[in-house]
């Protein structure tokens, strides 16, 4: 009898330890247990996003409250992913383990993620939904979410590359900001500022880690110089590409002249140097606005924004960065239609969108220009911004999209290429190789490790 008891006890223990390993999550069960007779089943729409999605949640939750008639028991939860690649990685891990219950319904992705995940069948095809309404949005809003002619993401933002500058410094040292319409003028402005401030003022920053490639290179100078990592067939051409030489030699020119303050991007020392008037400009995407408003205090009101400078040889402005909300193929996809409604209202409902933006400005929260033409036409989007001394940042962001450069071709090999190229740029910034050696090494390492880009 005792032996029997012991065996039963041990068997029970083993079962208790093993069962959770193979058990499925309970999310579906919870959802189906309490389903609404009116519309969507009770449960939670989980959204993964980079940045500070808690601010977006304020809009989403309000929207849900206003639509209780169709979604009485539905809530929206947002989770921050550090980078879009981080989200992609987590999603891949969930898919690998077959844990569809833990996946988010919605994920914010850039082109690299969309290319990878759509080819793995992990994103819903939104072509039939978006195509009929595409005319309501700015041209090409969904082009970065289009893979082989199918649309896998609803556009959230299309943000231009801009030039932020400290107008007070330009005035103090009698340098005309309008000369920065071209990169030659940008360089000249930097030299004048340095000379007249006796070396106190730097034109901009340079990051010793991976942000130099990301913000100066991939998103900035490279597309503006029409540079290429790969040709149309996926062959590696960066070593011989004239655009790459134009872009990176310009960066080298600024750096050699000592116009760039070397410090980590998005870290306190950079903000302190900026507030101390050591940094005159930021050539960067419009997203930088939220970092400026949040971290720059002493020079608030001194900053202005203008379109990114252009290379005379190419003539096109900054390339925009698009982000899209993609619908994860969770197998059930029960909230897909509800989130489409939410997304559509966020993008096109002028009064509520404007009210939310007003709230964001009050609490220094992030927001971007809408992609819907009707909202952009509203006078609200021309209003002055205190941080920019009365200049309208919203208008400047819209203006920055004019004459945009085309983004670099994105392939499934770009995440790896970024790591390889960035390492060479970092060694260049550290002074361990010159820019020509850096370009030659990028070419060599890409040919060794990637061989040929995987085209979508």
């Amino acid at each position: 009898m005792n032996t029997m008891k012991k065996m039963l006890l041990v068997a029970l223990l083993v079962v208790l330890m093993v069962v959770p390993l193979f058990a499925q999550g309970s999310k579906d069960t919870q959802k189906s247990e309490v389903s609404s007779s009116k519309g969507y089943p009770d449960g939670t729409i989980l959204v993964w996003s980079t940045g500070q999605p808690q601010f977006r949640k304020m809009y989403y939750q309000n929207w849900i409250e206003r639509h209780r008639d169709i979604a009485p028991g539905v809530n929206v939860e947002v989770e921050t992913i550090s980078t879009m690649a981080d989200g992609q990685q987590k999603l891949a891990m969930y898919a690998l383990s077959g844990d569809y219950n833990s996946m988010p319904e919605i994920i914010m992705l850039d082109t690299v993620g969309i290319v990878e995940l759509s080819s793995a069948g992990m994103l819903l095809d939104l072509t039939d939904y978006y195509t009929p309404i595409a005319d309501q949005f700015v041209d090409g809003a969904a082009s970065d979410a289009t893979v082989k002619g199918r649309i896998y993401g609803l556009p959230d933002a299309v943000r231009p590359q801009l030039l932020f500058y400290n107008a007070a410094l330009f005035e103090k040292y009698d340098v005309d900001p309008s000369m920065m319409a071209t990169f030659d003028g940008y360089y000249e402005a930097g030299k004048l500022l340095k000379e007249r401030s006796k070396g106190e003022v730097y034109l901009s920053y340079i990051d010793p880690a991976n942000y130099t490639w990301r913000y100066w290179g991939r998103r900035g100078l490279m597309p503006q110089a029409n540079a290429k990592i790969w040709d149309e067939q996926g062959n590696i051409v960066i070593g011989s590409d004239p655009g790459t030489k134009l872009a990176l030699h310009f960066l080298d020119k600024l750096n050699k002249e000592g116009l760039l303050y070397k410090t980590r991007m998005m870290q306190q020392p950079l903000y302190e140097a900026t507030d101390e008037g050591k940094i005159a400009t930021f050539y960067i995407g419009a997203f930088w606005d939220e970092f400026m408003r949040k971290n720059i205090k002493a020079t608030a009101g001194d900053w202005r924004v203008m379109n990114a400078p252009v290379f005379k040889e190419v003539g096109t402005g900054g390339a925009p960065v698009s982000t899209s909300f993609c619908f994860v193929n969770t197998k059930t996809n029960e909230y897909a239609d509800l989130f489409k409604m939410l997304w559509y209202d966020f993008q096109t409902d002028t009064p509520t969108r404007n009210a939310w933006v007003g709230e964001m400005e009050k609490i220094n929260g992030p927001y971007s220009n809408p992609v819907a033409k009707n909202i952009l036409a509203d006078p609200f989007w021309q209003e002055p911004s205190a941080f920019y001394g009365g200049q309208s940042f919203r208008k400047a962001e819209g203006d920055g999209l004019a004459n945009a450069s085309k983004n670099m071709m994105v392939t499934a090999s770009d995440a790896e290429a970024d790591t390889i190229i960035s390492a060479e740029i970092e060694k260049y910034v550290a002074g361990e190789q010159n820019i020509d050696q850096a370009i030659a090494n990028m070419d060599k390492e890409l040919k060794l490790k990637v061989k040929k880009a995987k085209l979508p």
């Binding site: 990685q89 891949a92 410090t263």
Partner: protein, 289 residues
Amino acid sequence: MLRNLKKYRIPYLFISPFFVLFLVFQLIPVVWTGYISFTEWNGLGSPTWVGMDNYTLMLQDYMVSDAIWNTVAYWLAGIVGILTFALMIALCLNSDRLKSKKFFKTTTFLPYVCASVAMGLIFGMLFDENAGLINEILVALGGGRIPWLTSSTFSKIPVIILFNWRITPWFTIIILSGLLNISKEYYEAATVDGANVFQQFFYITVPLLRNIMFFCMLTITVDTWKMFNESYILPGPGSSNTSLFQLIYQSAFKTFKLGYASALSVILILILLLISIVQFVIRRRQGEV
């Protein structure tokens, strides 16, 4: 075998939870890693068999050799630095002359309970080339600014300092427990025989701490070879201070080359195995194991 299993089914049942967990969480993943290392796989879809390609590439990849040498540097600096400081601090904490021992024990342990990522951010500020406190002190003393994190020459130093600073308290406590186990009678007898403090340290303390020190050395070895947070949060140019574990993470989850990352993991396992075997052989020759 089957008869034995049947005869001892109750004991076997009692130990079976360990084997189930070992199988699911350790053995199968290790075997799976070995298999994946011979494939090209991005985590989605099916792996493609590529034979020895990942291992061949590893031999040509300067980032791998950088990562291995960096990790060796972290390991050696860890063994020497952590053991030296931990032993010194433990000796101080064990000293009869020290007052307020509880206070000092608590403050000594504090770095270990601080989050390494948070500390990494603070160290990043301290070692900033233009605005960091370390360089400000150097300049105030008449020296020049050192590009701690912006040059390949210096970028390992902040990582070593952060790692050693964080880990030393843990080993201090372990060594202190060893010191507390050494009977005071040995020291009293040595004092009567005329041995000075240094002689007592080298002829009593060190030999009696040998087992503890060996355990610490093994643990530091494993800790340094799987170092991630410190080098990740304090990046230097390129792969100048990347640890092997960090490179595995980057290959797997930043560039989605799970086959290559698995091949690197296999190499890491082999290195750790080799180091452990060498340490055990040395100990066995010394007659300690």
